[in-house]
Amino acid sequence: MLEIKNLHAKIGDNEILRGLNLELKAGEVEVLMGPNGSGKSTLANVLAGHEAYDVTGQVLFEGEDLLAMSPEDRAAVGVFLAFQHPVEIPGVGNLYFMRTALNSLRRQRGLDEIDAMDFLEIAKEKMALVEMDQSFMSRSVNEGFSGGEKKRNEILQMAILEPRLAILDETDSGLDIDALRIVASGVNALRSPDRAMLIITHHQRLLDYVVPDRVHVMAEGRIVRSGDKELARALEEHGYVGLDEASPEAQVATAARP
């Protein structure tokens, strides 16, 4: 579904992604870990089409050149980013925002728009998934939401927009245990054979609820190790530095992987 080849991204002279390669298959849930500053969020933003970066390399989504597309076109082909810091938009109602987003996607896909009444039904069903009550829908987008409410609102958007590729940028950060459980169950509910997810996280604890197909470790703008869920456990135990010292041969193996 997603093929990233030799991806570079920089802001000014600051090179953040330095030849990143990664492949995601439909139906897979993959986890991306790595120390602060390793470029995880940059990768998420670059995939969503943030215009702040100078980008070179290749990203193919279902064989199409993702880097040539505008952010809205990427959304239309099915790319979704759950933001690390969801943006507050005073004056734009949450329900209106989500319906506008869904109808924009439907329009770009040649589908009929959904009217307000039908949308409300869809939204109610999806809100139950993330245990949000309706009062959130009459408020402005993310305005005055707690950290956990903002993250749940991201998962709600994912549930409503039903993307093919969902990138979750530290959606679990700053959540208490209940919010983490809610977010994780939302993620699990949306696992599907034709959807891929890339979950960026700092914490092993999310993986107590979401079992990934693969785990990747990023450092200095590249994937430096990949493995199964046990890799995440090893990271928790040894840290990123300890991991490298513990098994230097794994790095060589990672480098050889496309």
């Binding site: 089409g49 959304a75 987003a101 924009s104 402005s140």
Partner: protein, 449 residues
Amino acid sequence: MTAGPDRVARTDVALVGGLALLEPEPRTDDPTWLASARQSASEWVGAHGFPTRKDEDWRYTRLEPVLEVPFERASPERSHERARIAIDGLGTGLGGARLSFVNGRFAPELSEIGALPEGVRVTNLAAILAEGDERLEAIFSRTFGPFHHAFAALNTALTDDGAFVSLPANAVLDAPIELVFFSETDGPPLVSNPRTVVLAGPGSQATVVETHIGLPGEVYCTNAVTEFVLEPGARVAHYKVQDESESAFHFALLDVRQDRASSFSSHAVALGSQVARHEVRICLAAEGADVSINGLYLPRGNQHHDNPVRIEHAAPGGTSRQLYKGVVDGHGHGVFNGHIIVRPDAAGTDARQTNKNLLLSDDAEIDTRPRLEILTDDVKCAHGAAVGRLDGDALFYLRSRGVPEGEARGILTYAFAREMVDRIPIDSLRTRVERLVADRLAMPSELAR
């Protein structure tokens, strides 16, 4: 404007030319005091001329474009057919009296006053003057009194009509009084000088909605003066929608004098005119009065919207709030010039002033100038001004969800402006304004919360 051979000469005499060449006509029905007020106003204009950019309150507004136009006064004889269509286009009324004016003259067949509580007068100004009531001179001595600039003086000299509202003590008018000022020209550019006077007795309550409309592309000038006198404990709300032709000129003075514990609020939305100046002057003349002034201006193209506000705290314990927002597109120019004066005996004053602006293009221009003049220690005053562009993070957020860029910009722009629309508590009026503002900002008409 054609640059004819007389243009240079006309510019030379600009300060006393153009509009100033219009003289009050002798009117048989004017009482003597009014005739002499008109005469002295006319002489005042001749002696002082029009303001220039050297005048502090006019430094951001060029008057040459309006002074170059050879305006004429509208003749009273004309068909009201186009007016009827335009006024019908406003949609359903607001549930109360509607007084319509065509080029500054009352149009009874387009008006509906209906039943009023006992003692309440809602009529056109000319009718009151024609009655020749002896008390009128006292009532109007203030409103036809001193002039602080040529436009206000010209209004006194030339006004044909306007609205007159008077509320006795404790009278409560639930439904808004709607005043519609329609302008049109079918030849030379015309000027109208509507004069509205609202006298709110002690403890009375009323709402006045002022709408200025015209026909697209027509050049005319509205020079309006609207005055409110609030006696102790009166509560009055004022709304104004300036939706003139974008080729027109609009000069307006909203002048309010508030007695003890009275409460006044105003909400103004400016959409039309090539040059518009909506000036607000408030005097909190006695203890414990409060005032809230709200403005939204949306200049685009080459439009110029000037918003001078002057709030004078002349007595203790007064509260004033100002919130003005501007959205400026194209080569548009928005001006906020807010002046708060706290007099020495106005202890316990609480004054706040905020101006926020959104620039939508590189050529858009904003001048914002908050001024505080505080002559006593015991005050709470806060003011702030901001000029910005659309939030790039919010734009990316919307686009990342599939909303096309143009639509995302419209949504964010409307979100900035809607705070002002949402402040209008009258549902029917808010819906009307919502539609106008959404249309202007190319926002989808559906505005779910």
